[in-house]
Symmetry: C2
Subunit: 324 residues, 2 copies
Amino acid sequence: MDRETMLQEAAEFIQERDDFLLLTHVQPDGDAYGSTLGMAHLLQTLGKRYTIANEDPVVDKFRFLPMSEKFQLSSEITRSFSHVIALDCGDIRRLGESAALLADEAEILNIDHHKTNDLFGRANLVDLEAAATSQIVFTLAKHLELDLNIGGAICLYTGILTDTGGFRYSNTTVEVHQIVAGLLDVGINPFEISDRVLESLTWNQVQLIREALGSLQRDESGKVAWLSVSRPLLNRLGASDEDAEGLVSYARNVQGVEVGILFREKEDGSIKVSLRSKYRVDVGEIALSFGGGGHARAAGCTMPGPAEQVQLQVLTKVREAIVS
Amino acid sequence: MDRETMLQEAAEFIQERDDFLLLTHVQPDGDAYGSTLGMAHLLQTLGKRYTIANEDPVVDKFRFLPMSEKFQLSSEITRSFSHVIALDCGDIRRLGESAALLADEAEILNIDHHKTNDLFGRANLVDLEAAATSQIVFTLAKHLELDLNIGGAICLYTGILTDTGGFRYSNTTVEVHQIVAGLLDVGINPFEISDRVLESLTWNQVQLIREALGSLQRDESGKVAWLSVSRPLLNRLGASDEDAEGLVSYARNVQGVEVGILFREKEDGSIKVSLRSKYRVDVGEIALSFGGGGHARAAGCTMPGPAEQVQLQVLTKVREAIVS
């Protein structure tokens, strides 16, 4: 189905209904928050009622997003919804516990850009060319001829900023920069947003970087580098899982490295594996083979420990992918 | 003088002359290289002859820039030039030793965006609103109705990328994103460029980050953070001065910090001070008061040691600026 037809179906889905439940995936990232709150701003402008739910509370870093306080814990919502807009979700399982809020015959509008999207909606606005779901929401706003306010622009900018790695990943197209020019034109302050979202470090994070870099290793080819963060280290620094997220870049960014990996021990002893690649290796496929998911250049999975065994399994798979 | 008039004067300066010497400031950064080589691509397209000189060889990181091999050491050039294009230079002293290549009556076209620019050219295309000199060169190309080739687009993209801190600083305007959309449209690969210029780390740099973070301190207010890199440390890691450049961000990016500082010991024992601020403090003024220069948010100076005394002097001045 072409883009215009999908946009028109999505527009009609929204215009003909009211009282929406907005959902995104579990453990939301910048684009999940940005696209969901961007959509909330659109619905607000259209005078529609909506509820936003997630199984987790909004993480600190994204609480500056306008209307982020509208996120409710799905466990605290006692009714069900017939009209659902799912944002940035590749499949319905990614909704997590929030899926329990769907009425039996619930109609879903599925807005997403993941190539694994299985078109689970009654209406599907799925654009695999889009760098971010927030970009699709921007296009939908234009299709609906809605003027974005500053709040909405901040949310959509944040989503595009994070999913393009600060306009650096190869998904950053001419259209991305044109859309971002349009978002800046609304009057947002790009510096303040990227400062909060991409650059800001807590004192603990800085200490964590220092300690984690002590574990950095690379293989004899120099094409794979990895670092490990143990639970005792995180506990000692009072560092959250969130604090550890960005560490994988240090492995990936080393000159000559194609795949960078972070092994992070979780509370229950399982290992969260974050994978990043530069040019060639599809780490999304590797993560998928271990029951995880993601994109070609950024993906992740969680595996039962012990850490040594996980490292061995993942490194073997990554080396195979590099050689092939 | 308005922008159109300046553009027209610059265009005529180029069109009416030939055999140009292209110069930029000493210790060139990404915008210095990008704007100079972007201009070289323009002159190439126009069929003009040109020579590019600097007192230093091109640093490794920027050798991927198309035509960077055209940079010659000014000490190895034995003739003088009557037609000079100075790029990204606030005043003529910033040309360093290359100024010796100017003929007595040399005519200079001065293309720059520094607010301290003293209009030293016969023609001056100085736009204080521009985020980068590379942006001005792009605008000049459009004024001349020249199509950019990929080589030129890579150079100009690199200049804008570095001088906006990856499209993050508050100088990143609607026009910047529109221009970048135009540069991407030529067919460049933004990922590869930012990967080389902004993200790539040598193994030594990673080790240096780890060691330098061990020196990170902040004052009791939490508004100033600084780190120090001694010459013995740099020598032990075989790290170049260039390797140390980005460290100042770790001080600046700590939550709550307004000014981040890096003190780096040079070969001769003097201390290179790099200053970065977030929102309020004009570190350009602080650097200027110590005989250096730069922008409001990023500046630097070199001071005679010992390190302890330099730290005391700079920290005192920075605290005054924060309180005022």
